[in-house]
Symmetry: C2
Subunit: 161 residues, 2 copies
DNA sequence: ATTTATATGTAATGATATAACATATCAAGC
DNA sequence: GCTTGATATGTTATATCATTACATATAAAT
């Protein structure tokens, strides 16, 4: 079975189990607790393969027998983001599973304003002119995100304006 | 009188009146209505010279005799953002006056996680690797933001960790 | 086994943002 | 100037996103 990944198709089941296995290994290596809620949260993000609001994630967790209150989702999502398994799409107040787990990278998103699909793009860390600006200002960058909004290939056809 | 602009000092009064004059001229040229609320909203952002939440802006508008309900602030802010007089800092759900009004640019922000000061940096449009990624994906970028979080020069001293 | 740190569950609340609709003001054509 | 249509403002209500605080449970370290 294939499913849209960003604007492409791919083998969805393999992609999910692969990401879960990697997360498991990463956590084991660093003695991080990849607990049931955290695992389920990552599964939910991976299965949907699009950005999801915290409350949408929460409803799945609730349905899976975990707590039904917001902190349940926010804490799990924070964990995933902190360790690079997911990203927060700031422009949408939403979350996506990371498409390049393990890789040290500056996440960059292409966000379709029409269908809300988010594709994560790879960009070179610090090759974006921002590093220079930061250095000039004496600013120590800890984290950076790049977010582009526009129209995805599909929506360009249906909304050619 | 000088006041912090990003992490530097500058002539604050001149900077404000300059930005207002530019906005006025821009609107006049395009028959946009630079109404009292919109003007006051820009004044408020310029005067504070840091990112402000919509409700903080709203309280100033209220105090100035405008409406006290959220849409009053959100509409004025949307106008300013739409026409490039201000930017939304997505990672903070906050707004700042644009530091380079008139210039066609991709706004980039250096956001201090400790003191919340935001400095707008100049980066070259599309020289950030994102353009290539978008082209590959067939994605039409309409708007992009770059946001970096970290520690500003001052806070690096007080929080050397 | 005890202690300490970490994680989860839940209630309450805070912060951010929009929808919907009434009224007012502006801008253009007559 | 007056009418008309578009744009802007004011207000109520509500939707959406996120955190604080505290109790309980589980894991890890000695």
């Amino acid at each position: 079975m294939t499913k849209a990944h960003g604007f492409h198709q791919h083998d969805h089941a393999a992609c999910i189990s692969d990401a879960l296995t990697k997360a498991e290994a990463y956590c084991a290596a660093r003695k991080l607790q990849f607990t049931p809620v955290r695992r389920r949260t990552l599964e939910v993000l991976l299965a949907h393969h699009r950005s999801m609001g915290a409350y949408e994630v929460l409803s799945h967790l609730d349905a899976s027998g975990f707590g039904a209150q917001p902190p349940v989702a926010y804490r799990a999502l924070d964990f995933l983001v902190k360790h690079g398994f997911a990203h927060k799409v700031e422009a949408m107040n939403a979350y996506v599973a990371c498409s390049h787990p393990g890789a040290q990278h500056v996440p960059a998103f292409l966000i379709c304003r029409q269908c809300s699909t988010v594709q994560e793009a790879q960009i070179e860390p610090m090759q974006n002119g921002l590093g220079d600006a930061a250095q000039d200002a004496g600013f120590a960058i800890e984290r950076a995100v790049v977010e582009a909004q526009g129209l995805c290939p599909l929506c360009q056809q249906s909304a050619p304006e």
